[in-house]
């Protein structure tokens, strides 16, 4: 490997150096692409990677891609790669790829080509040019974005106090379909474990059960006739009757007949104190 040349900083016309090594200011990237190893950390922070470095060299230093001293660059990049292996391996690899690409471009120019060649090769630099132009476009877009006014930096939102602020809790909305879906999901799940008897009944019986319980909620007796509303017709009477039977069966209610053939009374089941 060639010995690395000594850094040759340019005279400082620019008050803000891009790097400072051992007290010595570096105001430009040296033309020969050599970066002192000590400056590597600073260097890596100044550039966003090999494309960014190449863009800088071409734009700011008027470097001709074809003039890049490839052997020298490669030797130097190899030296950096060794250094970078400790901390920024992936970045080292990216610089290496770039060096390889530049070398390839150069080598293709150096190879003799038959003068009569019909199929003209594409310019080996074309791909690199496209990449550099795409990069430049977004580099500028990023600079534009940075200058756009932004909330919290250039604009500030108002947050005026609201005295007597009350926070209400708005309960979530539920649709009937949601209840049906919940029931179906539950039934499916339950059915996996149990084989409950399929029992279908009109909802009206359940509704009537609740109504009967409501009317008897204070432990009062009520005559059976009082629960039956003749105006509901036969169907209504049957529903009430079925509801009563369900309630008795479920142990929620008892029917009391004090004398044979006497009036039947209904009441909620009395707690069985000292039953055990």
């Amino acid at each position: 490997m060639d010995p690395l040349p000594t850094p040759t900083p340019l005279p400082p016309p620019n008050p803000s150096p891009i790097a400072r090594i051992h007290g010595q200011a570096f105001h430009n990237i040296p033309q020969d692409l050599y970066i002192p190893p000590d400056a590597l950390e600073v260097f890596l922070e100044s550039f966003e990677g090999p494309i960014d470095l190449l863009w800088y060299l071409i734009r700011k230093q008027n470097l001709d891609i074809l003039d890049i001293p490839v052997a020298q660059v490669t030797a130097q990049y190899m030296a950096y790669v060794e250094l970078m292996q400790v901390s920024r391996l992936e970045l080292a690899a990216e610089y290496l790829v770039m060096a390889a690409m530049l070398t390839e471009i150069k080598s293709r120019f150096l190879l003799p080509r038959p003068a009569t060649s019909e199929d003209r090769e594409a310019d080996p630099r074309a791909d690199l040019v496209r990449r550099l132009q795409a990069y430049e476009q977004f580099k500028r877009a990023a600079e534009d974005l940075e200058t756009l006014p932004r909330l919290g930096r250039d604009w500030f939102s108002c947050e005026v106090l609201v005295p007597d602020r009350q926070i209400r809790l708005i309960p979530p909305a539920v649709a009937l379909e949601d209840i049906l879906t919940a029931m179906r999901d539950l039934m499916k799940r339950v059915d996996l474990f149990h084989h409950h008897r399929v029992e279908r009944e009109p909802m009206s019986v359940r509704e009537r059960m609740v109504q009967v319980l409501d009317r008897l909620s204070h432990g009062h007796f009520l005559g059976l006739e009082g629960l039956l509303d003749i105006r509901e017709g036969r169907a209504g009477v049957v529903v009430t009757f079925l509801a009563l039977l369900e309630l008795v069966k479920a142990g929620l209610m008892e029917l009391v007949q004090t004398t044979p053939f006497g009036a039947i009374h209904v009441r909620t089941k009395v707690p069985q104190d000292n039953a055990g």
């Binding site: 500030f156 939102s157 108002c158 947050e159 005026v160 106090l161 609201v162 005295p163 007597d164 602020r165 926070i167 209400r168 809790l169 708005i170 309960p171 979530p172 539920v174 009937l176 379909e177 949601d178 209840i179 049906l180 919940a182 029931m183 179906r184 999901d185 539950l186 039934m187 339950v190 409950h196 008897r197 399929v198 279908r200 009109p202 909802m203 009206s204 359940r206 509704e207 059960m209 609740v210 319980l213 008897l216 909620s217 059976l224 006739e225 039956l228 009477v237 009757f241 079925l242 069966k249 479920a250 142990g251 929620l252 029917l255 007949q257 009036a263 039947i264 909620t268 089941k269 707690p271």
Partner: protein, 193 residues
């Protein structure tokens, strides 16, 4: 600095601060070179106070300085900015509600028996607070568990005239029966009607 610029900066500072600012604090916003007189700041505050009269904001003086705030009379509307909308009810709550709707009257142990997991008190409390569900009695079994049923509020909010109008569980939906026994013969009762 022109009076209008000073007034605008004071207004902007009060609106952005989200709390009270003292005159000293306002003065700290300025460089030594463009810092106004305290009197000029006081004057700007007074002008703003007048300008905001009868608007959606008011400038009040409190112990710690001056504060831009929403007048109390608009609090009922503005408070709604912070209405809390819980995303959705849990599956546990929806299944509990579904069981109460379709299997009422039902007790908590019965719900737990079908669902196979405990029903939290929070779920029952939520359903009772929403007034969709009410306690209509107690089952006379050990612990006297409450019997839950749907309420009139439930019917109203879901636009139902009666529980009959609930969407039907299709025939393919198996319904677990809590007490799958035959309906007893109503022999002892038939002469009562």
């Amino acid at each position: 600095m022109p009076d209008d610029t000073l007034k605008a900066i004071v207004e902007a500072a009060l609106a952005a601060a989200g709390g009270a600012l003292s005159v000293e604090r306002i003065l700290e916003l300025f460089d030594d070179t463009d810092r106004p007189d305290p009197a000029a700041v006081e004057q700007a505050l007074l002008t703003l106070q007048t300008e905001y009269r009868d608007r959606g904001l008011e400038l009040v003086e409190i112990a710690s300085g001056y504060r831009l705030q929403v007048p109390r009379r608009y609090a009922p509307w503005i408070s709604r900015l912070w209405d809390e909308k819980p995303a959705r009810y849990s599956r546990a709550l929806m299944e509990t509600l579904a069981l109460i709707v379709y299997r009422q009257p039902i007790t908590r142990p019965e719900i737990e028996d079908i669902r196979g997991v405990a029903v939290t008190s929070h779920i029952i409390k939520t359903l009772l607070e929403r007034e969709w569900v009410r306690v209509i009695g107690h089952r006379e079994t050990p612990g006297r568990p409450a019997l839950y049923a749907t309420s009139r509020v439930f019917l109203d909010e879901f636009g139902l005239k009666s529980l009959d109008q609930l969407p039907k569980l299709s025939a393919s939906d198996p319904l677990p029966s809590l007490a799958p026994t035959e309906i007893p013969m109503p022999l002892a009762l038939d002469q009562g009607i």
